[in-house]
Symmetry: C2
Subunit: 243 residues, 2 copies
DNA sequence: AGGGCCGTCCCGCTCAGTGGAACGCATGTA
DNA sequence: TACATGCGTTCCACTGAGCGGGACGGCCCT
């Protein structure tokens, strides 16, 4: 194992719930000797990837700046921002933009405060089969991606999550036939969503766009066309900008 | 120089204008031998900090995910998002949220598409003395921060940028007396802005919030109270959430 | 054919990185 | 009070991981 791998293991030890971690805990999480962790943290601080606080270390602000330079995120987010804002203003629901990374969905941009107790956050991950954006991306991806998701298992997040391969395959067909995906409380109880596919310049799927809200206030009849239109516009923008 | 320092130099070689860089160019920018760069890039790819493309390397998506976990950004952005959206909807101008890093401003969140040719982007930097958010943060920071900015020089971005220490000091006094800062085309020609200070739980300055737009359509009489109110609300939120 | 730039690969040297062990210092426990 | 257990920190002898000069083959211009 190289220095970089060790250092990366340290960075990977941080998550949503533990923004600040001490040397001992870092050693435990990464499986590295305490003295090694101690020294590596010092080095990581000196290159501004980590930061010292009174009771441990935390990820450094430079990581945030680097993260904003990541091409996939930046080009996509830049093109999507105005469209998402229009969608937000028109619907007053929560707007999600996500990409697929392996068998999981990664949220790239979210508009619409934290009005309800929704846990989705930019940079967050969820299993693709359990969300609207995830399902719509699976439906328009190559067969092997869907296969990979099925082989990785279909964890159940709510009582309504799709948990069998047959149901998922059937759902994919339905999604392709209507050009959008519905998520009826399959990821969060009480929360539904309508999602549409976003395509890049090569006509391949690159992202999923969705409108999310409390099941009661989310009318698919109006939200469906809205999100599909916005996704079309975004796809066109990407095509002309050449992505 | 350690492995980490070398690897960091490679990451630092990427910027807004060069999302994809080849081995040779990376070697040139980082000052490292080509063979070293080649091997390091391989390692960086294997830990997902970089990604191979057809014509070079680019920052990996994992960096984006890590960046979103950075505490300063995350807590601030989370609290600010709904307030910024309200401000956006009320004014239909561009809304900026920024923090101070040394003598520069770093944008943490921006709402309001790319309607005009504004170059500000999330994760981007500008000299603090030349922007509304920067000036308002300098005004409420300790004397030494202002001093550092003056010693680092006061680069001129537009004909109206403040470029002398005396003018800047006087401006600070004016800002503190009215509780907000005006930027009259000091960072971008034709673009003005009104900024207000955001304070944390310890009553220290943590961020600057601003409304930015074309000079013609930005009326300080209405925008001033709006941005001050929003900044107060955000400060209160941070205080009760304990940041 | 020649020159220049590209990415890639090899391999012997060496010093940077490693981690076990010990330390001082707060805690909580007997 | 004495002990146990956690914390972060420091030291240092060993060694193999990282280093980089140099060579190679492919590509695109003269």
């Amino acid at each position: 194992m190289s220095v970089l791998a060790r250092a990366t293991a340290l960075l990977a030890a941080f998550d949503e719930r533990s923004p600040v971690i001490g040397v001992g805990e870092l050693a435990r999480r990464s499986g590295l000797p305490k003295s090694t962790v101690h020294r590596l943290c010092g080095e990581l601080c000196s290159v501004r990837l980590l930061e010292r606080t009174d009771d441990g270390y935390q990820l450094g602000p430079w990581l945030f700046e680097l993260g904003e330079l990541v091409p996939t995120h930046r080009t996509l987010s830049e093109a999507a921002q105005p469209i998402m804002e229009d969608l937000r203003e028109a619907t007053h629901q929560r707007i999600h933009l996500a990409v697929l990374d392996g068998v999981e969905v990664v949220y790239v941009n979210i508009l619409g405060g934290s009005s309800m107790g929704l846990s989705s956050r930019v940079g967050g991950r969820l299993p693709a089969h359990s969300t609207g954006v995830g399902k719509v991306m699976l439906a328009y991806s190559s067969r092997s991606v869907l296969q990979a998701r099925i082989e990785a298992g279909l964890p159940q997040l709510t009582p309504r999550t799709i948990t069998t391969a047959e149901n998922l395959v059937a759902e994919m067909r339905a999604i392709r036939s209507i050009g959008m995906a519905f998520d009826a409380e399959e990821s969060h109880a009480g929360v539904s969503c309508v999602a549409a596919p976003v395509f890049g310049a090569d006509r391949k799927i690159v992202a999923g766009l969705s409108i999310t809200g409390p099941t009661a206030s989310l009318d698919p009849r109006t939200m469906g066309p809205a999100v599909r239109t916005a996704a079309f516009v975004l796809s066109r923008t990407l095509r002309t900008d050449g992505i």
